[in-house]
């Protein structure tokens, strides 16, 4: 024990003595371990099952396969629940893609809600942080509107400890808060909503408040959202057994829900998805696995570069300690003692490096968290990476691996060396050409690996810059998009439409506004899932239908949409007031892409087209105008667009303001709430931003820049480590060849000669590493070309930048030792002989 303590003390002293070595090794370890911890945190975020749900593996998702739509009607859910088959508890949840406008005191925000059955929290085995879950009567239509807040939104609202019992306005409906979910609870899936409402609140909050009218003849199921049903399997019951039991219900469903269930429809059980409750985890896993594989590969490369550095440095350090070890063994130090001594030293190093790495990772993840928190997309914002115990274990694992990898081997090797020859060896050029070549090879390897990461980083950065840079043909800075929510002011549909009209009139008359357009949904390019067909004129329903385009969007647009967004008209006319009146002829304006597909000869005006999805088709529309293509906000690709005029009963709460110039656009953003408040103080403004800002906030643009930043960080880490490695090797080379350099200077070498010699040394290997890395990197880029936007995977700029960066870094890294070499005093060097 005392011996161990001594070894430890001696190890610390050795580290303190070789300060340069220790510093480089620690930095290497810290960067290697830190980068790995960060990457591990990120992939842990993706692969980690949702927290807080008890025994998630017992949960089964009921999938309706090959039906018209895959959701359960509320009554069907009750049928399964009350059948007592297969499940010990069965809950239902209905998601609504439309956000809810939540007003609490002065704050207005848009949030995502999930509508759930009363047994939701209990069947997931979650107890609330405050208050209670939902009551059975609240699950039914007519139960008072209540809500359970997610922990995050509760904090955003001020973390009021007395929130339970208070009333908040959801889409203008007064809802009482009955509970707050525990921190980290996101429901079955990993990305959770901001708040939960009982199924009974769906009708008032999601439908009636938005101006839908309740159709009397539609049946009670219409009052509930389409449901995803998840059950907890009875103890001891396997997934397939449970699925077998449930088949008893299928004939009944086919009878009762004839419209939805087809002859070949079936009921199946599978684990619920991680991101989307109804996604097949197998498919989901593929996506996340690829993503984590990329992350893992990146961190493996960084770890590998770090290990190469350390291995080299240990060889270097070992070389200078041969004599010490030989003497230790000669005076009776056992082999095990020596191995232990060396292992303790590398273990100490790894531990210190691990601590530094963990700090680095801590710092890195807090930056990541800040980046993610700044994202506009609420779903992205819920992905908060955190250092947890698992990550901590992983870090310790990396330390252990590092210790073994770079400590054990040299320890074994050094302790085995032939004593006699060691003692005789009086220094000089102890480093044989062989070992030097191995150092050179590992430098080449490091450079190659660093090139791959740096090239990937530059490519991703270039692509992120490209996708973030607005299209010069469509200036976005002078256009505003403003969203108001008259429904949550408590207005009914008619009044809301009137309010929007009044607001639009007022805003359009502002001196800074050149034009004002409206639309029911935010739309500025992009793709959707619609298919566009041409119908031969005169044919009846079911006549000849020719597919023209897939993945098209069919936006409804209100007044002056095209003028406000500066989308030029190429042929025909724009919509006029008559197109928006009831029972007007169905007309459409299409974009150039669609026009060309429709009539390559350029004469698409007057054609009849329809949009269709799945097996449903719209009425035919006559083409009256052709406008220019609009690039999407997010991806810059052009997708076919079929614009339709809004119907008179359609609410258009999105205003597009074409401002006189950029300055007035900025000013308008500041002023818009006031202006709207003047006209109607009750209507909340949900958002007001220039299109340029909207674009920047777009999830995919954000993802691109996030990915680029991540890649950049990895590239910088790799570059730094590789440079450090080169520095260490060259530094060692210079140190071990002091006498040789002295001789050369005595023979007449100038400083320039010596610097040139050190720089040239391994130049070939550097070039080899660079070329191999570039080839490898370009190969990787080609394979993953789908990640790149607007940049060819063989982008010459990126190649040049990468080569220049690597060359610069390795030159700098060898220049410092070269300078040192040039300063060698020949007399000093020769005296050591």
């Amino acid at each position: 024990m005392i011996a161990l303590w001594q070894d430890l003390k001696y190890g610390l002293r050795m580290l303190a003595k070789n300060r340069g070595f220790t510093a480089i090794a620690l930095v290497t370890l810290a960067v290697g371990i830190g980068a790995n911890t960060i990457m591990f945190t990120m992939s842990d975020l993706l692969l980690r099952p949702p927290t807080k749900v008890k025994n998630r593996e017992q949960l089964a998702f009921c999938a309706i396969q090959d039906a018209l739509f895959p959701w359960f009607a509320y009554s069907a859910y009750l049928t399964v629940r009350d059948s007592g088959l297969a499940f010990s508890a069965l809950m239902a949840q209905g998601d609504d893609a439309r956000p809810i406008t939540l007003v609490h005191r002065d704050s207005v925000r848009q949030v995502r809600a999930t509508y759930v059955s009363a047994n939701y929290f209990s069947s997931l085995g979650v107890s609330l942080a405050q208050g209670r879950g939902f009551l059975p009567e609240e699950e039914r239509v007519g139960g008072g509107p209540v809500m359970v807040l997610g922990h995050r939104i509760w904090q955003r609202l001020g973390a009021d400890p007395n929130i339970v019992g208070q009333f908040l306005s959801a889409n203008g409906v007064r809802c009482q808060v009955v509970g707050v979910a525990p921190e980290g609870f996101t429901g079955v899936t990993f990305i959770g909503p901001d708040l939960w409402l009982p199924l009974g609140s769906y009708l008032p909050v999601a439908e009636l408040a938005r101006g839908s009218t309740r159709r009397a003849n539609a049946g009670p199921d219409r009052d509930y959202p389409g449901l995803c049903v998840v059950g907890r399997l009875k103890p001891g019951l396997g997934m397939s057994m449970a699925q077998g039991q449930l088949q008893a219900l299928v004939p009944r469903f086919k009878l009762e829900y004839a419209r939805q269930w087809r002859a070949n429809s079936s009921l199946a059980l599978r684990p619920p998805g991680r991101f989307m409750i109804d996604a097949d985890p197998a498919n989901e896993r593929l996506g996340t696995t690829i993503f984590s594989l990329v992350l893992m590969a990146v961190s493996a490369i960084i770890l590998f570069i770090a290990c190469l550095n350390l291995a080299n440095m240990l060889i270097v350090q070992g070389a200078s300690r041969h004599r010490e070890i030989a003497i230790r063994m000669a005076i009776g130090g056992g082999r095990w003692r020596i191995i232990r001594q060396l292992l303790i030293e590398s273990g100490l190093l790894a531990l210190l490096g691990g601590i530094l790495g963990f700090l680095l990772a801590f710092w890195g993840t807090s930056i990541l968290r800040a980046w993610i928190a700044a994202a506009h997309d609420p779903e992205l914002r819920t992905m908060q990476p955190g250092l947890n115990l698992r990550v901590l274990w992983a870090t310790l694992g990396f330390c252990l691996i590092a210790t073994l990898l770079f400590g054990l081997r040299p320890a074994l090797k050094l302790s085995k060396r032939d004593l006699a020859s060691e003692m005789k060896d009086t220094g000089g050029s102890a480093l044989g050409p062989l070992r030097r070549r191995r150092g050179g090879l590992s430098v080449a390897g490091q450079i190659a690996l660093a090139v791959v990461l740096v090239l990937g980083a530059t490519l991703l950065t270039r692509s992120a810059i490209y996708s973030a840079r607005p299209d010069p043909r469509f200036p976005l800075e002078d256009k505003l998009v403003v969203q108001v929510d008259p429904l949550s002011a408590g207005y009914d549909r008619i009044r809301s439409i009137q309010a929007c009209e009044a607001l639009a009139d007022h805003l359009a008359a502002l001196p800074d506004v050149k034009a004002l357009g409206t639309s029911p949904r935010l739309f500025f390019g992009g793709r959707d899932v619609m298919s566009i067909y041409e119908v031969a004129p005169g044919t009846e329903e079911g006549g000849t239908r020719k597919l023209i385009a897939r993945w098209a969007a069919t936006p409804d647009v209100g007044r002056d949409y095209f003028t406000a967004l500066e989308i030029p008209l190429l042929q025909g006319r724009l919509f006029n007031r008559l197109d928006h009146v009831p029972d007007a002829e169905r007309v459409t304006i299409i974009d150039e892409t669609l026009a060309r597909r429709l009539r390559p000869d350029g004469n698409a005006l007057g054609c009849l087209i329809e949009w269709g999805f799945s097996t449903e088709y719209s009425d035919p529309y006559r083409v009256v105008g052709i406008v220019a293509n609009v690039p999407g906000i997010a991806d810059r690709e052009v997708h076919a667009q079929m614009y339709k005029p809004t119907r008179p009963d359609q609410l258009s709460p999105y205003f597009y303001l074409y401002a006189r110039d950029m300055e007035s656009a900025e000013a308008l953003v500041q002023r818009i709430s006031q202006e709207i408040h003047q006209v109607d103080p009750h209507v909340p403004v949900l958002s007001a931003a220039t299109l340029a800002d909207r674009r920047r906030d777009d999830a995919s643009v954000w993802m691109a820049s996030f990915g680029a930043r991540l890649a950049l960080a990895a590239g910088v880490a790799a570059l730094f480590l590789a440079a450090l490695g080169i520095y260490a090797i060259k530094g060692y080379m210079v140190a071990s060849r002091t006498s040789e350099i002295g001789i050369r200077k005595a023979l007449g070498a100038t400083q320039a000669n010596i610097i040139g010699m050190v720089l040239r040394e391994g130049l070939v290997l550097t070039i080899v590493g660079l070329s191999v890395g570039l080839l490898l990197g370009l190969g990787v880029a080609r394979v993953s070309a789908s990640l790149l936007y607007g940049v060819s995977p063989l982008d010459p700029v990126s190649v040049v930048v990468t080569a220049a960066l690597l060359t610069g870094a390795s030159l700098l890294a060898s220049y410092i030792p070269a300078r040192r070499a040039a300063k060698v005093d020949p007399m000093e060097a020769l005296r050591h002989e």
């Binding site: 040789e740 001789i743 050369r744 005595a746 023979l747 007449g748 100038t750 007399m827 020769l830 002989e833």
Partner: protein
């Protein structure tokens, strides 16, 4: 060719200044063969380094072939070194990672000799020293005497006018030593000025003048006949 006037050298140590050379006054004509002798730590190597312009940190006046070295900048001194001086060391100091041929090539490469000429000069020198057969061997594959032969060949390959040899025979067997001394004699007869340091009286006798150093002071100058061994 060489004039030293009041050359002094001191090291700053913890104990203060230690002089290792005091008031060295020396004149060496072109074509002379000089031996420096003296006990260990007398300052022989130090003197040789000053003459060879590896050492820049000394006081006094030193003229080499009409150039006042003490007024030159380090760079110019280095240029002068390249132009005039060839060094032979006690420990041979061959470059281990280079072959015999490459070792001979190194000084030429530092003197901007054209590659084509270099090959000719190196081959010529190998021939002159009778080591053509060894040209592709590494120093570790040679005997001590052969290594010193190569070291001398390397010292003279650039045709220096001044050869400085610091105990060139110190690590050699006596027959090998004698061979080396004969070689020096031949080089001297061919016109090179030679300054050698040695402890061996037999080899010292090859020099025309023997300069004795002691504790940094010049302790007199004798001719070979005055060597104690000869007197006996």
């Amino acid at each position: 060719m060489i004039t030293l006037k009041n050359v002094e050298k001191c090291y700053k140590t913890k104990a203060g200044f230690t002089y290792v050379l005091r008031q060295i006054n020396l004149q060496i004509a072109e074509g002379e063969f000089i031996t420096i002798m003296g006990p260990s730590a007398a300052g022989k190597s130090t003197l040789l380094n000053i003459v060879g312009m590896l050492d820049h940190d000394w006081e006094g006046e030193y003229t080499l072939a009409g150039q006042a070295v003490h007024t030159l900048k380090p760079k110019q001194r280095q240029a002068l070194n390249r132009q005039y001086v060839g060094f032979v060391f006690q420990a041979f100091n061959l470059l281990d990672s280079l072959t015999v041929y490459e070792n001979l090539d190194v000084p030429l490469s530092y003197r901007n000799v054209k590659t084509s000429q270099r090959a000719a000069i190196v081959c010529d020198t190998l021939d002159r020293f009778g080591i053509v057969g060894k040209k592709d061997l590494y120093p570790s594959q040679l005997s001590g005497g052969q290594q010193q032969l190569v070291a001398i060949a390397r010292a003279v390959v650039a045709n220096p006018k001044l050869i400085l040899a610091d105990e060139p025979t110190g690590n050699l067997h006596s027959t090998q030593g004698r061979e080396i001394m004969k070689l020096f004699k031949k080089l001297n007869e061919e016109g090179a000025t030679i300054i050698q340091v040695t402890h061996n009286e037999e080899y010292a006798a090859y020099g025309r003048r023997i300069i004795q150093l002691k504790d940094g002071w010049m302790d007199g100058e004798i001719t070979p006949d005055q060597l104690p061994g000869k007197a006996r």
